[in-house]
Amino acid sequence: MKSKEAVIIGGGVIGCAIAYELAKRGMSDITVVEQSYLASGATGRCGAGVRQQWGLESNILLSKYSCQALEQMNEALDYDDDIEFKQGGYLLLAYGDQQWEQFLKNVELQHKHGVMSEIKTPEQAKEIVPHLNITGLKGATFHQKDGHANPFKVTDAYYQAAKRLGVEFLTFTEVKDIVISAGKVTKVVTTKGDIATKRVINAAGGWSNIVANMVGIDLPIHSERHQILVTEPVKPMQGPMVMSFHHSIYCQQTPHGSFIMGLGDPVNEPRGLNIDNTWQFMQEMSEIITNLLPPLRNLRVVRQWAGLYNVTPDAAPILGSVPGVEGFYLAVGFSGHGFMIAPMTAQLMAEHILGIETTLPISIYDLERYKRGELIREPNVV
């Protein structure tokens, strides 16, 4: 039986980035186990947005440092391709006084942490996105450094860099069990053989609770389908991601020219692992978006798909160790915004696993916060 320093379960951006950050800090003998191909789960199905306009200090810092990492990523990871990072900004739309007041508070907090978002009147918002329908709009906030990165390429960049540092990747390999002895992780059983290890990192995204159950833990987490579509590519016409919490939608033009848009509909979306697409989504999405961004009515949809949000009670990830199971670590429950915070999250996880002081406090994200009642209440999520 082969023996490894660490086994990471899940070959999405989180798993690949943690592998790289651990290897970079000197850990050898790391294996990433992925049931399908890399980025086949939530990473490769996400909306590809990257924003720093959050309403909590923790989220602002996590996303700010992650964004800085994305700015340097092609060089830092010596990537022979391009992660397609475009900083066209995020335009967040506010409807109603209550939302607007929250936005103003968020901007104040963002400024305190060096995220220089801007407050815009509806008319100013229209200058940024000329085809925006501003009927009923109270105001907007804009941050130029937010934007888009290609999730497949970011994962690929981490994968290639990790591989050069000796990390082993087992794709199309399923984890069947995790063996515990005297409260410690000892072995991972996979469809391609057993791996002896003292450390297992659960980065399984939508499947995170299935993996946690293998060590006898039931996470306060569920997976939930979210749907998305893409249009044919057209000439650049929209710089920023347009996001409306009121409509529960986001829509941006990728550097490639296509428009990607998605809709949050937790009331009607099934829980579980179902990622089939529905015509109801197509109809609802098209109705909202052709009202909000009218010229988009002339764009053809070429594909719709779906992916899983791995949702926690406070829509914030669960990171770190687990009491009672030594050597078992969680990087799960990203609740729909894991991709954009992956670089810094992976760094914090690597620091935590290696017993180094973490660059940002990680303990606020621990599993026990739900027992303590210390939930992370982010006001700015779709």
């Binding site: 191909y37 086949s40 988009l296």
Partner: protein
Amino acid sequence: MNEKKPAIVCRCSDVTLEQIRDLIRKGYTSIDEIKRITRAGMGPCQGKTCGPIIEREIAQITGSKIESLAQHRQRGPIKGIKLGTLAAGGDHKHEE
């Protein structure tokens, strides 16, 4: 002197045969992986043209049978539909 013109495999996203073969040799041996790195199959035809060609290349280079390869998932719409048409419940009359 005797340079051959590149053969385009995916006409929607301008992906060449050489790019596909390079990736297969690097270990990207499923149509899903190749699609995500190159955008082959992400255009208006959704892999209806390039899909079988890429499958054949994977089979030849990896020595597998085509029928044993993982298929990429077919999703709607079958052909491109304007957002305006969808919003109008399938009515084309709104189109300019």
